[in-house]
């Protein structure tokens, strides 16, 4: 959804007025508090052809992530680490405003912010994913598809990515006669932490967590803050407005508290799937 397309989401004046009235009373149009996220449903192992997968519903936003694991050359400058790439696309099914085509800048930003959270948290111990140092490493592709868009694609995509990675089964590759051979057996991913992103939107003076598409159409600015058990690992301010330093610090506190709740939910996933 490019910004020009987002502006085509028309929120009627009356509806906008209703939103403002509700916000000034400390409520949102769907009845939530400012710091309340929508119901979050995570389903894992939904695609058998993938090494790991997850479908996340955050309210009416619906995202599916699939992990495919192959071998390849390491990234330049990171010769002794496995490669990890997160990409995202918003499918034309997701909303009447999406058209098929190469990812526009908003989708590039979405993929990069989710990628940054996974990368900077060092969620996956990539040093354990090397076959021939400097030459052949595991390459993990996480591809996310937004099936239905109702706001806050950042968090829904981030939860889908992390859930899919947590429950992925890593194929065991071996070198035989200088060739990579798939042994057919699998092992759990070398996971060290679970990054959780929390996105907040500012509408006027109000800062609300997990905005819907309708709220995003009225927002001035947006901030995404990713945390792990140890602290902060990634942040991105987005959209055309600004924040005061105090609003950012408050959002960071909210991200820490909410992040803990969601991380507890993600921990359940790892246990269930052994």
């Amino acid at each position: 959804m490019s910004s020009s397309k987002r502006s085509t989401i028309i929120v009627e004046h009356l509806r906008k007025q209703q939103m403002w009235d509700a916000l000034s009373r400390g409520k949102r149009l769907d009845g939530r508090d400012f710091s309340e996220i929508r119901p979050l449903v995570i389903e894992t192992d939904v695609i058998k052809k993938a090494n790991g997968s997850a479908r996340v519903k955050l309210g009416d936003t619906d995202v599916i992530a699939g992990v495919k694991i192959e071998t390849g050359e390491p990234f330049e400058g990171l010769e002794n680490k496995g490669a990890l790439i997160v990409s995202a696309e918003v499918l034309p099914t997701a909303s009447p405003y999406i058209e098929p085509g190469p990812p526009d800048e908003e989708v590039v930003e979405l993929a990069r912010v989710v990628d940054r959270g996974v990368r900077e948290s060092e969620m996956i111990d990539l040093e354990k994913l090397v076959l021939v140092p400097g030459k052949i490493v595991y390459t993990i592709f996480v591809d996310c598809s937004v099936l239905n868009a109702d706001g806050n694609l950042f968090d829904a995509t981030s939860y889908a990515t992390v859930s899919a990675l947590l429950t992925s089964k890593l194929p065991v590759f071996e070198m035989q006669d200088q060739k990579v051979v798939d042994t057919g057996s699998t092992q759990p991913m070398p996971v060290t932490s679970s990054p959780v992103s929390i996105t907040a939107a500012r509408i006027g003076e109000h800062v609300l967590i997990d905005p819907t598409a309708e709220e995003e159409a009225c927002m001035d600015s947006r901030i995404t803050i990713t945390t792990t058990d140890e602290g902060f690992c990634a942040t991105q301010k987005g959209y055309t407005g600004s924040f005061t330093p105090e609003q950012i610090k408050k959002a960071a506190q909210a991200a820490t508290i909410k992040g803990k709740e969601i991380r507890a939910k993600l921990k359940g996933l790892t246990v269930n799937n052994g």
């Binding site: 901030i223 991105q236 330093p245 950012i248 960071a252």
Partner: protein, 247 residues
Amino acid sequence: MTQTRNLIDEDGKRTDGRGPDELRAVRITVGSVKNADGSAFIEFGKNKILAAVYGPREVHPKHMALPDRCVLRCRYHMVPFSTDTRKNPAPSRREVEISKVMREALEPALMLQDYPRAAIDVFVEVLQSDGGSRCAGITAAAVALADAGISMHDLVASCAAGKVNDKIVLDINDEEDKEGQADMPVAYMPRLEQVTLLQLDGRLAPDQFDECIDKAIGGCKMVYEIQKQALMQKYFGNETELKEEEQ
């Protein structure tokens, strides 16, 4: 980011000899591109970045025009010889993202409703890259916009803070960006006290987040003074000369 090498010595000096709260050398030259409506060349450490502004001008393609305000377009681009290994000149995902956050960092400062149906184009070309090129680019672009005479609420000044050797330091350089523990670029409008860009790459402990933002904002305020000085230099000549004339 896990740090493997010591980046601060026993005397508290960083790899380029700076202290923890010291900015790299910053020099801004206003009006260095003759054909542009506004321009600025910034040297920020080893960064050499040119920003040029064209507009307000007619929008092409025409369907992009907005009836009530001006369209702001921004392109951040690195030339192929600006990096250690040659950079493919086609825009990368990184450049697409930086172009977007840069536009969003500048937009709050501009009175776009003053120029309906028009476009303002901001081109930021990185000729030589060092750490913090997006911050230097935003800083130069804000000066170029002011030089173009665009109505503005404030300048946008930008500077990063980050974590090296578990310490929060100002203005991360290339080595510290690649080998350090965290990098937080911030853009700030000092007069309005508004943050217009905030990103974070790397890990910060819970109590370090606020410290890092505050340090980066402090750096933005230093950069702001250099921006104003550069604009004064172009439009009013050397400030010390002015003072001498007054006496």
